[in-house]
Symmetry: C2
Subunit: 261 residues, 2 copies
């Protein structure tokens, strides 16, 4: 049997400590082929952005830990070009991260890390995004290593159904305080934004986005609950965004069949 | 009773013909307060990107059709700053578009138009994204006018549940050939990408993203079916991305409770 082919990407850029830690974890699995294709610069909060109005460059990084390419585009661009131009075949798994900062609850939608995983999923590749609730450059990516490896092994073994990827978040805790893994749903939370106004040297106003995270959802089956209680959260994520449960109601509106010819 | 306050945005930029057409349709409703806050330049395929590592500018456009501001950021930035800094209160509705090009099926995930609508939804504002399956600058945005107005009126009247927005797509057809409205689910489709390789004047390779749209889903309840058959598609879209139906299976993996302390 062929060795599993694993694509590693992220949104913090190919030199970030988080992706370096993930490369080491994947290598430790043993008998796998590893390719890294990741943005050449930080791409946080890029969501599912793709590059359509300008060009992309890729560059092979010689002497890397594994076979590595940097990409001038977004995380989603990196996955697309990896599959089309770099990898010898469709990979068996795509892992994205380890992100410097949480991608739990609503953050899944802003996250470049998760968008890379979702893009892989769209292309039919089992995929997992990993994030650590610690924005610092010197975050401790070792603490969650055992759990990350376990989640990767289970995913390789079980596979994932068409249209589903995994969103894994790790709380910022020392290894001995990580309590285990919980399968969760995405909490209903949001950012309560405010823009800080400043004045530039030429007298023009400008704004910085700031904000507070607000969790309206106290369910013990949510990722936010798991993280707050010392657990690693695993949320299955789909990219069919249809609100199926609202269909019956929407069909009572005077729309379906409106002005039919 | 206060007049409904309606926020209009888009991803093609504030000067695009599509948003101009949408402004006219909203004005034609009559007794409404209309604010436009939209990117100052085209932002297609930006997905749910937000600006966190640089600053934003907004500029009031004097003498516009209604109260208008341009924003230097993405579509999602425009909604965020509108709510925090520009609008007198939380709007009763946010409409995004009319996009130059389709945002049906998987395109919902790449679309700046839909990301703006989703962002409004996250903030608890009923929201609709409108897109026309015609990329040309001189697309006929008048053809679907009656249907767009109807969908806006029904949404103002019925409201939308927390966590749901609408994705409306209009086929490229003359008015008399538009057959009516269909409530649909998102088709399972994808882009089969390939990158075209070229060589720059300095001998370096670069790539352009190209691709073919592949619809794997022939269901007559899908948006792709509706559009191909002359109907306007209305898909309710949610931003809880949890794959709830996969939970029972995922719980059979050796993960939940792994290495619990």
């Amino acid at each position: 049997m062929e060795k599993p082919l694993i694509l590693i990407t992220n949104d913090d850029g190919i030199t970030a400590p988080g992706i370096r830690a993930l490369i080491e974890i994947v290598k430790s699995i043993g008998d796998v082929d590893v390719y890294v294709v990741a943005p050449d610069s930080p791409q946080s909060a890029m969501g599912h952005a793709i590059t359509i109005n300008s060009t992309l460059h890729i560059e092979e990084i010689k002497g890397g830990a594994v076979q590595e390419w940097s990409c001038s585009g977004t995380p989603v661009d990196s996955v697309k070009i990896a599959v089309d131009r770099i990898l010898p075949r469709k990979p068996d798994l795509c892992v994205s991260g380890i992100n410097h900062g949480s991608n739990s609850s609503i953050n899944v939608i802003y996250s470049g890390t998760m968008s890379a995983a979702v893009e892989a999923g769209i292309e039919g590749i089992p995929a997992i995004g990993f994030s650590l609730s610690d924005f610092s450059y010197h975050a401790d990516f070792k603490a969650g290593e055992k759990f990350i490896k376990k989640i990767i092994m289970e995913t390789l073994e079980n596979g994932l159904p068409d249209g589903v990827v995994l969103n894994v978040n790790i709380p910022k805790l020392p290894e001995e305080e990580l309590k285990g893994i919980r399968i969760c749903r995405q909490a209903r939370a949001k950012w309560d934004e405010s823009f800080e106004e400043r004045v530039d040297p030429r007298g023009r106003n400008y704004y910085w986005l700031t904000g507070n995270f607000v969790n309206m959802d106290k369910g013990k089956d949510t990722d936010e609950w798991a993280l707050a209680n010392g657990y690693i959260s695993v949320v299955p994520v789909q990219f069919d965004m249809t609100a199926h449960q609202f269909m019956p109601n929407l069909n009572t509106w005077d729309l379906n069949g409106f002005d039919d010819k």
